[in-house]
Structures are given as structure tokens and as C-alpha cells.
């Protein structure tokens, strides 16, 4: 009997070993190396000079250029998150309140954007807002403007692209929360004299906070980590922090600087995740994904 018990105890670790090896070798150990790298220097010939130095960190933390772009990145991610929450909440509420086949259909539609490539969804806005896009052709056909207006390549279109990309995450997470709330609670509050709006703000909204929080976390972290959207929909002045990482690593081949930059991004976004985890727990995220 003892050997069976032993086997039972070993079994989960045997099953887990490939996954844990992968996470360890391909994520954890590399992250430690990024830390080491960030204290090394780039040698004159473009290679790595393995001497200890604070130079990269002094540059990342001291240079106004990096700080401004970091603040700009946080600002764009915050605006995106707020817009997603305001736009997504009523839609999630609607889905949670419709019944039967319609709800299933709306949920299936909500899943579809996840399967349409991010780059296609991003570039699709060029067809809409570009100089020869849908809006300009419409304005010209109606005689409102004679020459097309350049609406693309600014901060607003970056936010627009990010909202388009992240809105389904927000709606889905809020929906998961709303779906778990007994609808009769709102009716009860109403019958006890609360207005519809009061019943919503006093009962439903607080109960749906976990979903709203999970959606906001995803929107913020994914939005702040992007570098494709600013390249496609932003102008030359709309670079975000991840663009700096990409330029340092791929264009300038300055890996130690790139390592320091990516760790700075990890620390900022990691802090948000840790704070979220303290208040809400990461389990809520799994609900929206599963």
C-alpha cells in the first residue's frame, strides 16, 4: 500500500515536470539573465562587455526622454482602460440581461475578435480613417470636403486602435461578473423604493467590481505593453515604452540598455499586477479566460 501512496504523491510532480521545466528554462532563468545583462555594457564593437556598471540604469532612470515616454505610455494605457470600461459596461450589462439564444449569439460574436489577428484589426482602421478611407470618401462624395483630411497617425488613433483591440477583454470580464449576480436583487431594491439607477449603483455595480477590475487590469497591462499599435496608427511622436525596447534590442543592438528598459517596464506593470493580486486575487482573471 505504501508504494501506491508514494506513487500517488509523485504523480502530480511527474505530470507537472515538463510544464515547470519550460516555464523555468524559458521564462524564469531568462528573466534573471536580463537582470544580469542590465548591469553589463555594450562593447565598442557591438558585442557585450561583461563588466559591472550602473550606466544603463542611470540612463533609463535619469534621462528625461525615457521618463516622458514612460508617463506617455501610462497615460495612453489609462485612457484606453477608462474608455473600454465606459463603453464596455453597458454592452456587458445588455448581454447579461438578454435571454436564451440571443445571449449565446452575442457571446459567440464577442469571441470572434479574439480570433481575428491583432495586426489585421489594427490595420483595418487605415481603411476607415486613411486619406482614401471610408470616412474621407464619404465626406468627399457628400461634398463636405474637397481634399481628404489626414485623421490618422496621432495619439487619438493609437487610443482608438487599442480600445478596438482590448474592448472584448473588458466586456467579457464584466459579463462574467454580472452573470453571477442574481437579477432579482436589483428588482428587490427597486420594489423597496430605490429608483432603477439607485438599484444599479447600490447593488449591481458594486457586485460587478471584480469583473470590472479584471478587465481593467488586462486592458492596462496589455495596452501599456504594446508596440505594434503606435507603429501602425501613431505618428513619429507617439512612441510608447515598448517601442524603445524594440529599438534598443533590434535596431541599435544595444542589449544591455534594452535589458534595463524592459526590466523598467516589467517593474511598472508588475507592480500593477501585484497590487491587483493583493486586492482581488489572480483567480478572477482565470474566470474571464476560461
Amino acid at each position: 500500500m505504501a508504494s501506491i501512496e508514494q506513487a500517488e504523491r509523485r504523480a502530480p510532480w511527474i505530470l507537472l515536470s515538463p510544464a515547470l521545466t519550460a516555464v523555468g528554462l524559458l521564462l524564469l532563468v531568462p528573466l534573471v539573465f536580463v537582470l544580469v545583462y542590465s548591469f553589463w555594457l555594450r562593447s565598442a564593437v557591438g558585442g557585450i562587455d561583461a563588466t559591472f556598471s550602473f550606466n544603463n540604469w542611470a540612463e533609463v532612470l535619469g534621462d528625461r526622454f525615457y521618463r516622458d515616454i514612460l508617463l506617455q505610455t501610462i497615460k495612453i494605457a489609462l485612457i484606453t482602460t477608462v474608455v473600454c470600461a465606459l463603453a464596455g459596461y453597458p454592452a456587458a450589462y445588455f448581454i447579461a440581461r438578454v435571454k436564451g439564444v440571443n445571449r449565446g449569439f452575442l457571446l459567440l460574436l464577442l469571441m470572434l475578435p479574439f480570433w481575428v489577428s491583432y495586426i489585421i484589426r489594427t490595420m483595418s482602421w487605415i481603411n476607415i480613417l486613411g486619406v482614401s478611407g471610408a470616412v474621407n470618401s464619404l465626406l468627399q462624395a457628400m461634398g463636405i470636403v474637397t481634399d481628404p483630411i489626414q485623421m490618422l497617425y496621432n495619439e487619438t488613433t493609437v487610443v482608438l486602435g487599442l480600445v478596438h483591440y482590448l474592448l472584448p477583454f473588458m466586456i467579457l470580464n464584466i459579463y462574467v461578473s454580472l452573470d453571477g449576480i442574481d437579477t432579482t436583487l436589483e428588482d428587490a431594491a427597486h420594489s423597496l423604493g430605490a429608483t432603477r439607477w439607485q438599484a444599479f449603483t447600490e447593488v449591481t455595480l458594486p457586485l460587478s467590481m471584480p469583473g470590472l477590475g479584471a478587465g481593467a487590469l488586462l486592458c492596462f497591462v496589455l495596452g501599456a505593453g504594446t508596440y505594434i499599435t503606435p507603429i501602425i496608427l501613431g505618428g513619429p511622436r507617439d512612441a510608447m515604452f515598448a517601442n524603445l525596447v524594440f529599438d534598443a534590442i533590434i535596431t541599435q543592438l544595444d542589449w544591455p540598455l534594452g535589458a534595463a528598459l524592459s526590466l523598467a517596464l516589467l517593474v511598472v506593470l508588475g507592480t500593477v499586477v501585484v497590487v491587483y493580486n493583493r486586492f482581488a486575487g489572480l483567480g478572477q482573471l482565470a474566470k474571464g479566460l476560461g
Binding site: L20, V23, A87, I119, A134, L282
Partner: protein, 271 residues
Amino acid sequence: MRKPTGFTWITLWTIFVYLFMFLPIGVVVLLSFNASQFGSFPMTGFSLQWFGELATNDAIIRAFQTSALLGILTAIISTTIGVLASLAMVRYDFPGKTTISTLLIAPILVPEVVLAVALLLFLQLMNVPKSFPLLLMGHVIFTLPFVVLVVQARLIGVRRDYEEAAMSLGASPIQTFFRVTLPLIMPAVMAGALFAFTISFDDITGTLFWKPGGVETVPTQIFAMLRNSISPEINALGTVMIVLTVGLPLLGLAVMRQVSARQGAQAGAPA
């Protein structure tokens, strides 16, 4: 009871939100059939010529082959590892389970750019050059959490009695796994594999860091083509991608429904 008028506004807003999500994608598909020389409005007529151009464009064909191979290998490896881990998480209790659970989803908690940099720098230090294997390792590590989450969610619904019955009748654990457990969890496995394939097929963030020069996947190919200007060819390529990444999962879903309905009917029939 009459619905409050507030609900009418919510309905209208929801319609607007769905239009916002789908109209731009619809325009990509619409413009890919445009006969005009430029990838833009006005529509001058219906034409399939841009799809024809795609089929004769070697770079695009190669990108499709790379993406397909990468997606399939990622799906196989990630699903195998992920299913084993999910079995451990759902079927066993052991010390440190919460930590392990966080570790398994860690690759999506770390921003993809940071993950991309970390893996690239580490493997370069180990003298692994930018290459297809590096791409594959990268795709496996960031699809793994999604597979684990999807498979775990489905596994919870699979009953353990059948496995215990098989074991008590003398089947070895390995036999039990292949004869009983695996067929039972097949829908979860397929869902995980499909998910991994789609994520890998769509990925651009990590791929741009890891891909060797000259190798393109479909998304990086589109990205490179966008550097010039938007062309009808890009819209056509987008349409093909949409058909593949939306059509395949929908087909998979339909097939799975059919299969599980039939299995359900069989299981329900008296032996």
C-alpha cells in the same frame, strides 16, 4: 412589467459597440474584393484578382508555410505539456499548489515584450541564434498558460469514476490514461490545441524579436507590407487570415458538438 427606457439606450449602445468591433473587419473583407487598383474606396467593381495575386506571391506562400508549421508544432508541444500539467492541477492535491498555479500562468502576467527580450537574450547567451527553434520555444511558452486555463476549465467537468473503474479492473495507469482518460478529455485537448494554434498563428509581438532575418510569418509579412502603404493585396491577405482563424475554430466547435452529442447518446444507451 414595462422595460425601463434606460434599457433602450443600453440596447442602442450595445449595437453601436458591436458595429465598432466588426465594421472595420467587415471593410477589410469588402475591400479585398474591390476591382480598383488602390486598396481603397470607392468600390469600382467585384474582383477576385487580389486573391489571385496572393496565390502567385512567393513571399506570402512561404510566410503561410512558416506560420502553419509553427502553429501546428506549437499546438502539439504546448497542448501535450499543458494537458499533463492540467491533469496534475485538477486531479491531485499537493503542497504548493497555489504557487504552481501562478507559475503556470506567469507567461501571460509578464508583458510579451519583456518575455520576448528575456528569451532572446538568454538563448543568444547560450549560443542559440535567432532561428525557427527559438521561435517555436517562444510560441510554446506564451501559449502554455492559455492551454492550461482552457484545459483545466474543461477537465473539472470530467468524472473520475471511469478511470477508477478501469484501474480496479486491472488496467495500468498508462493503459487507463490512453484508453479511458484521454478519450474522455479529448474535447478539452482539442480546444487547447486550437487555442494554441490560433494564438501562435496570430502572434506578432514576440515573433518580430525572435524571427531570423528573411523568415516571415503571415503577421510579420503583413507588417512589412504595411510599411509601404495599404494595398488591396493586404486586405485580401487579411481576408484569408480571417477565414482561417475564425472559420477553423468555428468548424472545430461544430465538429466537437457533433462528436460529443454522439458520445453522449452512446453513453446514455443501455449497454
